[in-house]
Amino acid sequence: MKTLIEAWEWYTAARDNLLRMKRLAIRHWNDESLRDSSIWKDERFKQIEAGDLESQTSRALAPLEDLGVLVLFSVFEAAVRDHLEKEIRPESDKIVHLILRQAADEVFDGIRQGSLANHVLTPLKDQGKTDPNLSDKVKQVRDYRNWVAHGKREPRPMSVVNLAPLDAFDRLREFLDVLGIPTRPDLVEHRPIDERRITNELD
């Protein structure tokens, strides 16, 4: 996954198909009209009971919201770092003075590996390239991602706001739009925005 849209599509595909499996288990698996179905001859399904299907699907669904935020933010972070590096590279290539070159290398290190908040979000906000409110919203996504990545230790710190993947997606996409980073516009243009919400009604 290289783009935010691809990450979002992965998340919705995984969630929607798991919800479909859960619904299949609860509502249709033991439907008498399916007794002669070829599905019961399929090695993958013939020994699966509705209860197993439902419980396994529920287990798979349980961490998916958090994984969604985690993956979305990872892709976002890589996209922002790549974009800034490409943007700055032509400027730094012109630098001749050794001290300035060393300073430029340190900037690149910060962009590539440093704290996203300190080396990317804050400078962009301070330079007026991003709205402080939006920057804070992205930091909230990062904080939530960090909390999840470090094991969701309870109690959740007051500073960590609970976020769903859709919240994260909207905030991160807005931030990428501001920076002019493409999120696979070919797909976005052809996708009605409400389609993302319709899939929530599957359960």
Binding site: I26, W40, E49, A50, G51
Partner: protein
């Protein structure tokens, strides 16, 4: 109109209770059948293991079965020589159809219990109910169903300890 959380929960509770009550007869019959099966298994195990090497622990598990709701069912854990085997009720409602021993035509199974150590799985299918019920055993290779009796149970257990 958007439901409040309280309305939604009340509605779900009503649906859940209605489903559970509707199936109470089916569940009771299934629980009685499981009790008979587990007593029979214990008898066969006692006869097959006169030295009492097998440690048998009985308990109850909560089964959540779509269409039947929640119910309690017995389970058995058999331990010996560092091995563990569980006898677990899986479902009263199953789509398994087969021709059980002593029958001429395929029938729909009326219950399923698994014997497993998480690697090897034998499946006990029930056909019929009450007086006419018969338990069968299907091996991990999916071979033809055999009637469950002391001999076929022992053969299955041998494969775990071999």
């Amino acid at each position: 109109m958007i439901m409040t959380l309280n309305e939604l929960l009340r509605s779900k509770v009503r649906d859940f209770q209605a489903e559970t009550e509707k199936n109470i007869g089916v569940v009771s019959e299934w629980q009685a059948s499981l009790a008979r099966l587990f007593n029979q298994l214990k008898e066969w195990l006692a006869a097959a293991d006169p030295d009492r090497i097998l440690q048998i622990q009985e308990s109850f598990k909560e089964v959540k079965e779509p269409g039947l709701g929640h119910y309690s069912a017995p389970r058995m854990d058999i331990r010996a020589l560092g091995q563990w085997i569980a006898v677990l009720p899986k479902a009263r409602r199953t789509m398994r159809s087969a021709t059980p021993p002593r029958s001429l035509s395929p029938e729909n199974a009326t219950g399923r219990v698994d014997v497993t150590d998480d690697l090897l799985r034998y499946i006990l299918y029930r056909f019929g109910t009450g007086e006419s019920e018969i338990w069968t055993i299907e091996g991990p290779d999916g071979s033809a169903l055999q009637e469950l009796n002391a001999k076929t149970l022992e053969a299955a257990l041998v494969s775990y300890f071999r």
